[in-house]
């Protein structure tokens, strides 16, 4: 049996409904993601080519090739995939919560909060990458909690969340500016580098941390997704349908904050990923929303951007965040122009 555009899989009393368009989008973007990942693994300062990469992957390559692949490229690739998926997922959650296409951790102050945490670690303690990561995660989480607190601890949603978030972001931007003026030139350079966001030199440990955050976040989102989907009909309808509105939204805000914290802690605030991923996913699926697709697109953006960053300009590698910023910014401008042409925005 089927409803238009979808197929229902039944087993005993259980049933799962899959939408053809969503499944096609997921399979298509996974295929592109795989191609980009393979290409990233095969290229770089030492070009391995696809044959040698395969051989090294299957443990049949030379020692040198296997070192390059397993110790240098795959950890970076895995970190990028997990970071991008976390950001795509958190962006989708924030857009659902704010019911606003610009609702993202960059706009709502979480990224700025993570930055404050990182700056405190770099400037006050001259801490290394690990301490910076811990402080950044703490900064993002604390900002999420402060935003929820300022919405009076009730229902974090809609305009109130956007306005409070923008206010918090502005205050934190001021704090971050102040922190940068209070430091030595060396620490300031490290801070600015962290602020750009980068994936170079990431290890398996860091990939594992983000992967754990991603798995936990994805599990919570799976449970919340039906309620979040019903909330798209408005708060009143969702209540009528039996959704625990406030509980669902608070859980979504906390999950989105944790996902942002995990991603930013390891890779820095890669600009625009959380904003662009849900938009692209929505274009592919039409009226339905898929959190999974948003995560895949996020992973695709970060991995693709990192591939470009490694190729660099005139053989000089770029920080990953520069590429996501430029690509994401261009995409956003294009989106606004396209919507204006369609007459959606004046």
């Amino acid at each position: 049996m089927s409803v238009q555009g979808s197929t229902v899989l039944r087993l005993g009393g259980n049933s799962i409904r899959v939408r053809h368009r969503t499944v096609a989008a997921i399979i298509g973007s996974l295929a592109v993601l795989f191609a980009v990942a393979m290409w990233s693994a095969a290229t770089g300062s030492t070009a391995l080519g696809l044959d040698r990469t395969w051989a090294a992957l299957l443990d049949q390559g030379t020692k040198g090739d296997e070192f390059i692949l397993w110790d240098l490229r795959l950890p970076r690739l895995a970190t990028g995939l997990a970071v991008g998926a976390c950001m795509g997922l958190s962006g989708a959650l924030f857009q659902n919560l704010t019911r606003n296409p610009l609702g993202s951790p960059d706009i709502l102050g979480l990224t700025q909060g993570a930055t404050s945490g990182a700056l405190v670690a770099i400037i006050l303690t001259s801490g290394g990458l690990q301490l910076t990561a811990v402080f950044a995660a703490f900064g993002a989480l604390a900002t999420g909690l402060v935003i929820w607190g300022l919405t009076r601890g009730g229902d974090p949603s809609g305009y109130r969340l956007v306005l409070v978030g923008i206010g918090v972001a502005a205050i934190l931007a001021g704090v971050n500016g102040y922190l940068l003026t209070r430091t030595t030139i060396v620490d300031a350079f490290r801070a600015v580098y962290w602020l750009t966001g980068d994936l170079s030199g990431r290890s398996w440990d860091q990939a594992a941390i983000v992967a754990i955050v991603l798995a936990a976040g994805a599990a919570v989102v799976t449970v919340l997704s039906r309620g979040l989907d019903a909330l798209r009909l408005g708060e009143a309808s969702a209540t009528g349908l039996g959704v625990h509105v406030t509980g669902t939204r608070v859980a979504a805000l906390v999950t989105a904050s944790v996902l942002t914290a995990g991603a930013v802690a390891v890779a820095g605030p890669l600009a625009f990923v959380a904003l662009a991923a849900p938009h692209i996913a929505a274009r592919l699926t039409g009226s339905t929303r898929s959190f999974m697709l948003s995560a895949i697109i996020g992973a695709l953006i970060v991995t693709g951007a990192d591939m470009i960053a490694v190729a660099g300009i005139a053989d000089r590698q770029l920080p990953t965040g520069v590429v996501t910023g430029v690509v994401g910014g261009l995409y956003l401008v294009w989106l606004l122009i396209a919507q204006r042409k369609k007459g959606v925005m004046s």
Binding site: M1, V8, S15, I16, R226, G234, S237, G240
Partner: protein, 265 residues
């Protein structure tokens, strides 16, 4: 008299610290088509929101089947009580069939996403509201009247014996208003208990089997339209001098506002 399925007991209801109604007592009778009416800001929508558990009384309680509605699991309540809010939001580009299917939410779960029962009930709800032909159309392409029928179908797909409708005829032209009210009357005849907030006094008198008239957050009159729609009550509730005649179509009370002597011709 036994208590109805929905009872408001000594309830203080409002927004934040502003109380709209205090010490309110309302009993929704089973199997009736109850219409709540009154002037703007009289507390009628607030009462409906309290009945729908969207507002929690700061004192007193709302009872569903004799138990505090807020102490019951919200999904269990959603299988007893359906709600059509004043301005529901249709996600961009959603089709009619997809929107109606959302009504199955309280009957579904992560591993029960679409049962044969869901399929049957959704088809029935679309047939009952006469929108089966529109199934694959986008909700945003429809006229206001069709869209309202789609939302009613969604609430019907929830399969609840109780239906709450918050101003279901607002923003519709007269033909579509009557269409929606005829549909409500049909749902009532089929055995459901309906509670609606309406603006139009004459429509309320024609379609309701039980009226609750409110003013200033209090219930002023309650009962069958033939008993309570009198010139005195209308004056008391709406400050409107009027005459009451029999509706030539249905025999229900028809309110004719008085022409003021000084009114411009």
């Amino acid at each position: 008299m036994t208590a109805g399925p929905l009872v408001v007991q000594d309830a203080t209801i409002g927004y934040g610290r502003v109380a709209i109604s205090a010490g309110l007592n309302v009993d929704i009778p089973e199997g009736e088509f109850t219409v709540i009416l009154g002037p703007n800001a009289c507390g009628k929508s607030t009462l409906l929101k309290a009945l729908a558990r969207m507002l929690k009384p700061s004192a007193g309680q709302v009872l569903l089947d004799g138990k505090d509605i807020h102490s019951q699991p919200t999904r269990a309540v959603a299988r007893r009580l359906g709600l059509l809010p004043q301005s529901p939001i249709a996600p961009d580009g959603i089709t009619v069939a997809d929107l109606v299917a959302r009504g199955r939410y309280p009957h579904q779960g992560i591993l029960k996403q679409w049962s044969a029962e869901d399929e049957r009930v959704v088809a029935e709800a679309m047939a009952a509201t006469d929108i089966s032909e529109l199934a694959s159309r986008g909700v945003d392409e429809l006229s206001g009247g069709q869209r309202q029928r789609v939302w009613i179908a969604m609430v019907l797909a929830q399969q609840t014996p109780l239906l709450l409708l918050d101003e279901p005829t607002t923003f519709l032209d007269i033909t579509h208003q009557i269409e929606v009210l005829d549909l409500c009357a049909k749902l009532h005849r089929e055995g459901r208990t309906l509670v609606a907030v309406l603006h139009d006094l004459n429509q309320a008198a024609r379609y309701a089997t039980h009226l609750i008239a409110m003013r200033g957050g209090e219930v002023v009159a309650e009962g069958a339209p033939a008993d309570i729609v009198t010139a005195e009550t209308v004056h008391q509730v709406f400050d409107l001098p009027c005459r009451i005649i029999d509706d030539p179509e249905t025999g229900t009370p028809l309110v004719i506002p008085k022409a003021l002597a000084s009114a411009p011709v």
